[in-house]
């Protein structure tokens, strides 16, 4: 076994020593790692990335359940609706109340959309119309400002 003079110990080594000290000994001795363990590590890495994304997304309130279901989570149309929520709804008390009621009810609607494609299509139609209304209002506001 290759002996190390360094006293430094990593957190993962401490965890391994607790898990099974002999497994750590085998690791230091260069014992082969099974193919299933390599696959498990790859799965773990992917799960960590996913968790990191989840934490980052939670930092910015990225909920927009129905739009995410209809258009996709990262779709520019969903993003536009989130921006509209943050800039138009959230500054007002009534807007915040509306957002809370929307968050309370939309998970149920999303479930229905997933099960019934006709409802999903209807939601898309309504959201498309709603986006047009928002765009018209935004343009009118810009013209008024000009």
């Amino acid at each position: 076994m290759a002996k190390s003079k360094s006293n430094w110990i990593s957190a993962s080594e401490v965890g391994r020593a607790r898990f099974c000290a002999h497994a750590l000994e085998l690791k230091y001795s260069g014992a082969a790692v099974s193919a299933s363990a390599e696959k498990a590590r790859a799965r773990g890495d992917a799960a960590h990335k996913q968790f990191n994304t989840q934490m980052r997304n939670a930092e910015r309130d990225s909920r927009c359940f129905i739009a995410s279901q209809v258009y996709g989570f990262n779709d520019p149309r969903t993003e536009a609706l989130r921006n509209w929520r943050d800039t138009v709804l959230m500054p007002t008390v009534a807007g915040r109340l509306f957002v809370k009621i929307y968050y309370a009810s939309s998970p149920f609607l999303v479930k229905v959309c997933r099960r019934l494609s006709v409802v999903n299509s209807a939601m898309r139609f309504l959201l498309d119309g709603f986006r047009r209304v928002i765009n018209v209002a935004d343009k009118k506001e810009l013209m008024d400002d000009a």
Binding site: M1, V14, Y28, S34, G44, H48, N52, A104, S105
Partner: protein, 183 residues
């Protein structure tokens, strides 16, 4: 008289049907309002802001020179009280002692670089525990010193005691080379 009784019956029916639906909506809204007021992060830490995230190999570990341990929490959240370190395990099942040791060691390493970590959260896909850390680094080190000593001894050429258990051996990367495996 007949009209009143029909009206009463319809009213009772309406309440019987709409009542539970309205109550269900009320509960849903209430739960959401409570959740929103507490936290939006996936760990449920109140008033917390993401402070650090382990991006993999490009993220350098923290070093505690006093105890000669290094490590990286998977994430750290900043709260009004200090930092909360997160150790995430992607598997299902309960949090193990080894997960806790690793998390405590990573927190000690972060403290060595000047970060005021006062709590550790260890999370699997189905379980989550919070551990309040002692204020003193010595006390924190005492919680893991046996594991650190064992790891250090093995690193310097010592032997490690096998701790065979079907669930541990089943997930061990070295089970094929191990004479003690019970997998």
């Amino acid at each position: 008289m007949l009209e009143i009784s029909i009206f009463t019956r319809e009213l009772v029916l309406s309440i019987a049907i709409l009542g539970p639906i309205l109550f269900w909506i009320f509960l849903k809204i209430r739960r959401h309002l409570l959740n929103d007021s507490q936290s939006a992060n996936p760990l449920g830490i109140p008033n917390a802001e993401l402070f650090y995230i382990d991006e993999g190999k490009q993220t350098k570990p923290f070093f505690n020179r006093q105890f000669e341990v290094l490590g990286k929490p998977d994430a750290m959240y900043k709260t009004p009280t200090g930092l909360v370190a997160v150790e995430y395990k992607s598997r299902r099942g309960s949090v193990q002692d080894s997960d806790v040791s690793q998390a405590l060691c990573a927190a000690l390493a972060a403290r060595g670089d000047g970060h005021n970590v006062y709590q550790v959260i260890v999370k699997t896909q189905t379980d989550q525990i919070e551990i309040d850390l002692p204020r003193s680094d010595e006390e924190l080190f005492n919680r893991i010193k046996l594991d650190v000593a064992a790891a250090r001894s093995i690193k310097h050429g010592g032997t490690g005691t096998a701790n065979p258990h079907p669930s541990k051996c089943g997930s061990c990367a070295h089970k094929k080379s191990c004479a003690f495996t019970v997998a």
